[in-house]
């Protein structure tokens, strides 16, 4: 395992939420997904700031949808994880799993 993941916990949560949502991943569902699975309330501005940073790093890509009246004529911005982003998620998973393994206190949900 050569590469080292630089993903923060919030970055990882966002990438995983994008993978779970598939084609329906835009601001509102992403924040809802994170809120429902982690209990963490996410400000949409913070979410977009992180997504912009991840996009600059090439871990996610975005496309604009159609504008709707419900959104005051503004388009949705859909995000998806790129191949590079997927590699980073896998690396992070590997790192966490190896750290997890062999910790007696965490075996069998004891801790």
């Amino acid at each position: 395992m050569g590469s080292r993941s630089n993903l923060g916990a919030f970055d990882l949560m966002i990438l995983l939420a994008l993978m779970r949502l598939g084609d329906a991943a835009y601001g509102v569902p992403i924040s809802r997904e994170i809120e429902e699975t982690s209990g963490r309330v996410v400000a949409l501005a913070t979410l977009y700031a992180t997504l912009t940073r991840l996009e600059k790093k090439g871990l996610v890509s975005s496309r604009l949808g159609e504008p709707t009246a419900e959104r005051g004529g503004r388009a949705k911005k859909y995000f998806r994880v790129t191949a590079r982003g997927l590699r980073e998620v896998r690396d992070a998973q590997r790192v966490f799993t190896s750290l997890w393994n062999g910790l007696p206190a965490l075996k069998g949900g004891m801790a």
Partner: protein, 275 residues
């Protein structure tokens, strides 16, 4: 179920905080209409405001650092210590703080950023007037030619820089000749004038580039941010030498003027195309 409109003040604030991020504005409107409260909407807007503010604060801090570094690079041939002495004296005089900030940082040192971003601001004002005249002249033309706004602004700004820089060089030479006890210019003459012209013009051109990059990348109002950074850098050096109230009043007034000019300039660019 369609809910009422979100609070108007919050939406106004959001439009400014989330400049360039229509998706965020749309998301908040959508969520508010569907199920969220006004309190939730306000919290989200304030978060957007803080996020945008921290980004702009970082930018200003970066440009302030640039100004502070530049203020230690004097124009070759000018005696930096004497210039600082003159600046300190100017700060204590009536209207001193005003002039101290108005011409950029000139009075606290003829340095590489001596003219600040002001020539660009003045050029933007000139171009706004030119755009009106251009529109008037082309009113009957069958095919309207757009004014190359950005190119013209750059030419005018560089011309203003050159004129001001030569003026500064001549002023320093004359001051040096009148006050024999003050050694400001080591070797007056054409070489000094040309060096001053090149240094001051290059410094302001660098600031104009930074300003344009900020605006082009939609990170904020570049002209205003660079001007603000110049003010902050200037204030940090002049506090304690001048009346703080006069400094602050002058800073707020100038920022208001630059804000109006830069907004008008951006509107002209949008209408005419960047050119």
């Amino acid at each position: 179920m369609t809910r009422m409109r979100p609070p108007a003040l919050a939406t106004w604030l959001l439009r400014h905080a989330a400049r360039g991020n229509d998706a965020l504005v749309g998301d908040l409107l959508e969520e508010h209409r569907r199920r969220r409260s006004d309190a939730w909407y306000w919290r989200q807007v304030l978060a957007a405001f803080v996020v945008s503010l921290s980004r702009e604060a970082l930018l200003v801090a970066g440009i302030v650092a640039l100004f502070l570094i530049g203020s230690r690079v004097p124009v070759p041939g000018a005696e930096a210590d004497t210039l600082t002495l003159l600046a300190t004296r100017a700060a204590g005089r009536p209207f001193g703080p005003l002039t101290l900030l108005a011409g950029g940082q000139l009075l606290w040192g003829v340095t590489v950023f001596g003219l600040g971003i002001m020539p660009y601001v003045s050029a933007a004002l000139v171009v706004q007037t030119l755009a009106l005249i251009w529109q008037f002249l082309n009113r009957n033309a069958s095919r309207r030619r757009p004014l190359p706004v950005m190119a013209v602004t750059w030419y005018v700004a560089i011309l203003l820089c050159a004129v001001q820089a030569v003026g500064v060089a001549l002023f320093l030479e004359r001051t040096s000749a009148i006050n024999e006890n003050l050694r400001i210019v080591a070797n007056p003459g054409w070489m000094f004038r040309v060096t001053t012209l090149l240094t001051l013009t290059a410094g302001t051109t660098g600031l104009m580039l930074v300003s344009d990059q900020i605006s082009r990348r939609r990170m904020g109002n570049g002209m205003l941010l660079v001007f603000m950074a110049g003010l902050v850098a200037g204030l940090s050096r002049t506090l304690g030498q001048a009346d703080p109230f006069a400094l602050l009043t002058s800073a707020v007034l100038q920022m208001a003027v630059v804000a109006v000019v830069s907004r008008g300039y951006r509107r002209v660019i949008t209408l005419a195309g960047p050119g």
